[in-house]
Symmetry: C2
Subunit: 438 residues, 2 copies
């Protein structure tokens, strides 16, 4: 079975836990099988891996998400990297080309495409498998997953099927109807459109070549920034006549807002927090090193990260976007392929950061034009390369690097550094990378 | 006029803005005359200074508060330092002895004693002056300030006067009555006991010598730790027969809890915060460098500092103490006589701190047994003395100090350092001080 997971946009609706580089799918908020917290991405990845023994999975993601994906899923995962954001049609075509040209999958095989961010259980993945098998039968060009509505939502798109059978021909689509229309549709057996579909790989390629002039994956990747922004629904689904829908009545939750996310949480508190007995329906997610104390609150979500602190009535939390958009703030923490960093202090002409490298990992070999840096090793062992000179480092070692000096650090064990950046023009864009061979 | 300001205990009821070293009176929460925020202490100090041109003021405070007092009021303020906590009777006697033996005030003069923490306006200080003048008349041995109750509180002590005249003989005292008794008292003209009184200095000394064997200020200071814990109310006020009360009907607010404190705030938000339009009766006090976003809340106080985050229904905030007592946490920030510090990162075997020195100020010359330290200068100029060697320092300079090495830093301009402490046994008690002459 072939599957493309669409990693989705950044989104600010789960601020402060999501920021420009950490999309909601990377927030570790669910108890995994080993008792540790896992993210939506880790959860769905684990669930997909269990579908059967022959899964070829590709994650379609933006460049800025690659580090986080490797950090959470390891180095061996297939990522179809979108060089820039171009909506779902180009992203899906790129991932399909990746499957054919890089992963060596035949275009006669079918493909299931689904987003990473719904909260679902095992039964969902069984249906994904059936969806692929249905596509193999070629009764239709496209097979969609239709989710049985649990209430007449005005937020979702609806699929109106021909009948109420498990698999049915699609009559039409309806974007976000009003409440009355939604109720009416549901009476007729309408389903939510969860953005999940299956088809032959060749079908996607045929559609792609109608709209885009390209030869193979590499060619498409190179001209990706010239493509139009267009959704797969608009470019393909809504135009297709031979299209089926498969009903799904299991658990499916869209975790787009704090309100819906907290409904899917296994516990009321994550992180250092205390709640007094008079709190009702309160959730705390605290990623800071300091405690949160909640007293006498009702229907409230509290969330704290190095990015900020949200305290919101749960229903109101859906209206967060315009407020977060107004906050002009730099990225205060991030997961990278090699570990993570967190800004500890924003000075007038300095920036102090805690850098954590995972064992065996390393930074890029790089230099900065406009800042000097100081490293103080606070945990672990490893070595540094500074202007070509290799040196073992231990706790207490101090390294100073003038602007222009090339440097990297490689972790033997988990390694932590306090990095002090010094200069009048400190910027994340001030970074020149080098290969270590040069 | 002579006045003793009682600086009071630490108190956890305003956590996280108050901690072991910052009592509530040091929290900067009121708009001062210059538009900047000032603390209760700064506010009352400013107000007392305006009473008249001949004020001799002494602040009675514990050792741990001295740095904060100098930080907020400057170096030239008189402090009667209690070597350890021994309740208000020993504290007042020590301050009175300080006035006589150190400040050279005659024991025939009168003295007004008042706590630093009520929220009051100019009229209060006019009454304090009258209180001192009334004590000068020697119609009674003690003159108390009685505050006209605004509601039948069960939290305060009551003074029951002989009549409803402005100055009246005290009939009796009543500690924290129940609601019905309080209502009954108020009908009889009873007043709240705000802990303010005036008397002759000689009167305090006479009472002191009855209970404590001492010769002068220095002798009392030296044996302070051998004294019994006893309140001035219990030791003196309740035993005195010749006692008057002066009525005060102006603004007087006890700022002991978040609920009462927010009532006295001039604005709803202090620090980096955003509140949506659906919030009602919400106060945010944010001392962190990251924004707080509050949405759809009612009657809630949000307070954030390097010590923690409180989100509480206002009424419930009075019950905070047992929860804060359970939090076993080190002091994360403090104001010192020379500036301030803030813990940025608590590592397994490291501690990273931002140290700010005010211009012209310096640390003690000191060493540590069990830790090495690294300083990175991130702002300003000054000089260091390390094992006797003087060196000018500028932004970007790095100094490393092994355990045992004596060191200090002196600020020419405002100076900021990132200090990384490294060791297995990092403790605030690991500090040996030296004089720079040795």
């Amino acid at each position: 079975m072939n599957i493309v997971l669409l990693s989705g946009g950044s989104g600010v609706r789960l601020w402060p836990l999501s920021n420009e580089v950490r999309s909601k799918q990377f927030i570790k908020i669910f108890r995994g099988e080993d008792g540790n917290y896992e993210s939506m991405l880790q959860r769905i990845y684990r669930q997909v891996c269990k579908i059967d023994d022959h899964i070829t999975m590709v994650i379609a993601a933006s460049k800025s998400q690659v580090s986080s994906i490797h950090n959470q899923l390891g180095e061996n995962v297939n990522i179809s990297v979108e060089p820039c954001r171009r909506d779902t049609f180009p992203a899906i075509v790129l991932a399909a080309a990746y499957l054919i040209d890089i992963a060596g999958v035949s275009d006669r095989e079918s493909l299931v495409i689904c987003p990473v961010d719904p909260y679902v259980e095992e039964d969902y993945f069984k249906v994904l498998k059936s969806l692929g098998e249905q596509a193999d039968k070629e009764e239709a060009n496209l097979v969609l997953l239709g989710i049985e509505p649990t209430y007449p939502s005005e937020k979702y798109g609806y699929i109106i099927p021909n009948d109420k059978k498990c698999i049915s021909r699609v009559l039409k689509f309806q974007e976000k109807p009003d409440m009355e229309t939604a109720k009416n549709y549901i009476r007729q057996g309408a389903l939510w459109n969860g953005g999940v579909f299956a088809c032959k790989l060749k079908y996607i390629m045929d559609q792609a070549h109608k709209l885009i002039d390209f030869t193979n994956y590499e060619d498409l990747f190179d001209k990706y920034d010239t493509l139009c922004k267009i959704s797969f629904d608009y470019a393909v689904v809504e135009k297709e006549k031979k299209i089926q829908v498969m009903r799904f009545s299991g658990k499916w939750k869209d975790l787009g807002t704090w309100n819906t996310l907290t409904e899917a949480m296994n516990e009321h508190c994550i992180g250092d927090s205390i709640m007094n007995e008079s709190c009702t329906n309160v959730h705390v997610v605290n990623e800071l090193d300091i405690p949160v104390l909640a007293m006498g609150l009702h229907d409230v979500v509290i969330s704290a990260s190095p990015q900020g602190i949200l305290v919101s009535d749960k229903k109101q939390s859906s209206y967060i976007k315009p407020f977060v958009d107004k906050i002009d703030q730099q990225v205060m923490f991030a997961e990278k392929s090699w570990g993570s960093f967190r800004i500890l202090d924003l000075g007038e002409e300095s920036l102090t950061i805690r850098v954590t490298l995972n064992p065996g990992h390393r930074m890029n070999y790089h230099s900065h034009k406009n800042r000097n840096e100081v490293w103080v090793v606070i945990l672990g062992v490893g070595y540094t390369i500074v202007d070509g000179m290799k040196q073992e480092i231990h706790v207490g070692d101090v390294l100073t690097m003038e602007a222009g000096c090339r440097h990297t650090v490689i972790a033997k064990t988990e390694l932590q550094l306090i990095e002090v950046q010094l200069g009048k023009e400190i910027s994340v864009y001030d970074k020149q990378k080098y290969s270590l061979e040069s």
